[in-house]
């Protein structure tokens, strides 16, 4: 008998009596989700910038040192930033090493924890761009905020086959004596522009 069958038979044989699936609890909702999102995002080391439109976003971007100091820039958001790395022309993700800044669109944000959902299709041909880049810029529409993760997963569309992730701030670690260090293996910074009137 294959390992698969051995395992499945053992699990069936030893199964406890059927226990019903519960109803999902109601998640907390915030009167001002944007305020909560901004607070959560900032508390995890991210930088939150509110802009009324894309024109202002570009103006603000030109003031961001991570952007102005960047040599190699990827932008996956139409009309935002002046990229000089064409992601679609890259065949090998290893070639992304040395990308200083990546501008990536977030589909929606989650107020309770400052997380942003990014479907794989938004990452272009080389999905590693979100983690290999030295700095990250996220762009999220202001009217795309949910309060909690239950609402988030109602919205998430899993691309199959594919990839998708929540990002909440820059990469970090506290593995050395619990001292928080921002910038572990992924981006050293994460600046989020929330766009809308």
């Amino acid at each position: 008998m294959s390992s698969r069958d051995t395992i499945l038979n053992a699990l069936r044989r030893n199964a406890p009596p059927l226990s019903p699936a519960p109803r999902m609890p109601e998640g907390i909702t915030y009167p001002d989700p944007e305020k909560q999102f901004a607070a959560a995002f900032t508390s995890v080391g991210g930088e939150f910038v509110r802009v009324p439109d894309y024109a202002t976003l570009n103006v603000e971007l030109d003031k961001l040192p991570y952007y102005t100091n960047a040599h190699r820039i990827v932008s996956l958001v139409e009309g935002v930033g002046t990229p000089n790395v064409a992601l679609d022309s890259i065949q090998d993700p290893h070639a992304l090493e040395g990308v200083d800044l990546a501008i990536i669109p977030g589909e929606f944000g989650v107020a309770e924890n400052g997380a942003v959902w990014i479907p794989g299709s938004a990452l272009g041909s080389q999905r590693a761009v979100y983690v290999i880049s030295e700095h990250l810029v996220l762009v999220v529409a202001a009217d795309r905020l949910v309060s909690n993760m239950h609402q988030a997963y109602e919205r998430v569309k899993i691309e199959r086959p594919g990839f998708g992730l929540f990002i909440s701030g820059p990469s970090k670690t506290a593995d050395i004596e619990q001292a928080l260090v921002i910038g572990a293996h992924g981006p050293r910074s994460c600046t989020l522009y929330m766009v809308g009137p």
Binding site: S19, A128, P161, G162, L165, A174, H185
Partner: protein, 454 residues
């Protein structure tokens, strides 16, 4: 046999260091409390998580089959391993079939349990643990001492010395930022050179056929975004039914583990990278047997958050190594003796049964009750030494007979105050090493009551 008490005593002998270790983990517990307090429905979430897990465990085979179907439809190859040895063989086969010799790994307690690293290294595979804490202990040739905070037992100076020796950092440098930067550069090289990336699985979703990996460092993402081959290893119990169940677990996991609202990266893998391959290895390794055990099956609900370790007053003061098992602390004290009762028979006794672990467990495993029950298992199996069992039999005999109990009490109260201290506080008196015995009153409560009614 792993002697927790002896190892703990050795740990505690360095009192300042023990207090430092205790404080570091207590601080994580406090952060957890603050996050939990910010969610009014926290207790309802725990109840929901416990129910989802209980439901899933009652239909585990069905959900695994559903997962397999959906994963395969996503282009993921699904493998099944009866035990650790088979798991290791499967992983090695995937590597060797491609002639790959450089593997980068993100955290997987399962692979620790199966002893994957030494297996692969013996066959010429370079294995790089990419989580910073795990890399640190890997360089020290040590196991992790905590499942979430692998290097919690080390001070920054220890890490500074290690990095000076292994990575060429400045001698005496111990600033965490400086050391983390050095690790970033070093591990970046490994990520770039890796041919295969291996991750654990925080949650496998039956409904969609994908796996979810949660990290702060982005190491799982680097390890799966660069090499074209991704191997995800999971125990059978990591399956959850539906995407919406993640709503409950992603709200509980990071808050319980490190006191953050969520990990930086919550990555949902539903297929290989373009032109690449993705494999999932589903492992039993004793879990189906635990499922059949009515008393201890709930321990399979564990989502490996480590909250029980952070809150355990004994873990904080004895360190992960005192348990001698991949997973230490309260949950480890059930999982380890389930696997090898003779080897880990002291672990269920490495607890005052305070119950704090049960109150923080996000999936409401009744840890301290299971520890209490396990003690009975160990007595039934005669793993508990005869001297202890005999002593309790004698005590039970005395206490069951009022006249004998009263006589014994009276004798003790009469003799002890009359003995010289050198005898009362001799080495055999473990109580008396650091404590005074209680004062022995002349009359018992019963004596006093009798006098009163006379």
């Amino acid at each position: 046999m792993t002697d927790h008490a002896a190892k703990a005593a050795a740990f505690v002998a360095d009192e300042p260091r023990t207090h430092w270790h205790d404080q570091a983990l207590w601080f994580v517990r406090l952060k957890r409390d603050r996050q939990a307090a910010s969610i009014p429905e926290w207790e309802a979430l725990r109840t929901a998580a416990a129910s989802i897990k209980a439901h899933t465990l009652s239909r585990l085979a069905d959900y695994l089959e559903e997962f397999e179907r959906n994963a395969q439809a996503n282009g993921i190859k699904v493998h099944w391993a009866r035990d650790g040895a088979e798991h290791n063989e499967i992983v090695y086969r995937i590597l060797s079939e491609r002639g790959a010799t450089r593997l980068v790994k993100s955290k997987s307690m399962l692979t620790e349990e199966c002893h994957l690293n030494p297996y692969l290294e013996a066959r010429g595979i370079e294995v790089t643990d990419s989580d910073l804490g795990e890399r640190i202990v890997q360089l020290r040739h040590e196991p992790p001492s905590h499942i979430v905070l692998p290097a919690i037992h080390l001070k920054k100076e220890d890490i500074g010395d290690l990095f000076h020796e292994k990575l060429g950092t400045e001698a005496g440098a111990s600033d965490p930022k400086y050391l983390t930067e050095a690790a970033r550069r070093h591990l970046r090289e490994r990520f770039m050179a890796a041919e295969v990336g291996l991750t654990g699985v925080n949650f496998a979703i039956a409904e969609t056929g994908g796996v979810v990996v949660c990290t702060n460092e982005g190491n799982a993402d680097m390890g799966t975004g660069l090499p074209p081959v991704h191997i995800a290893c999971m125990g059978v119990e990591k399956i959850i039914p539906r995407l919406e169940d993640l709503g409950v677990f992603t709200r509980l996991l990071a808050r319980s583990a490190t006191g953050q609202p969520v990990t930086t990266y919550t990555s949902h893998f539903h297929g290989p990278v373009r032109g690449g391959e993705m494999h999932v290895v589903i492992v039993d390794n004793g879990r189906s047997a635990i499922l059949g055990n009515e008393v201890f099956r709930r321990s399979l609900s564990c989502i490996r958050c480590g909250a029980c370790m952070n809150t355990c007053p004994v873990f904080r003061r004895s360190g992960g190594y005192s348990y001698g098992y991949t997973v230490p602390g309260p949950i480890g004290s059930i999982l380890a003796p389930l696997r090898e009762p003779e080897k880990y028979g002291t672990l269920p006794f490495a607890s005052s049964l305070c119950g704090s672990c049960s109150d923080v467990c996000p999936v409401k495993i009744d840890l301290h009750h299971e520890l209490y029950e396990f003690r009975q298992e160990l007595v039934r199996k005669k793993v508990v030494p005869w001297s202890k069992r005999f002593g309790m039999a004698v005590l039970g005999f005395i206490l069951a007979r009022p006249w004998l109990y009263r006589l014994a009490g009276k004798l003790a109260r009469w003799i002890v105050p009359r003995l010289p201290r050198s005898l009362t506080y001799a080495r055999y008196n473990a109580w008396g090493r650091q404590r005074e015995l209680p004062a022995m009153p002349r009359e018992s409560f019963r004596d006093l009551i009798r006098k009163e009614s006379a």
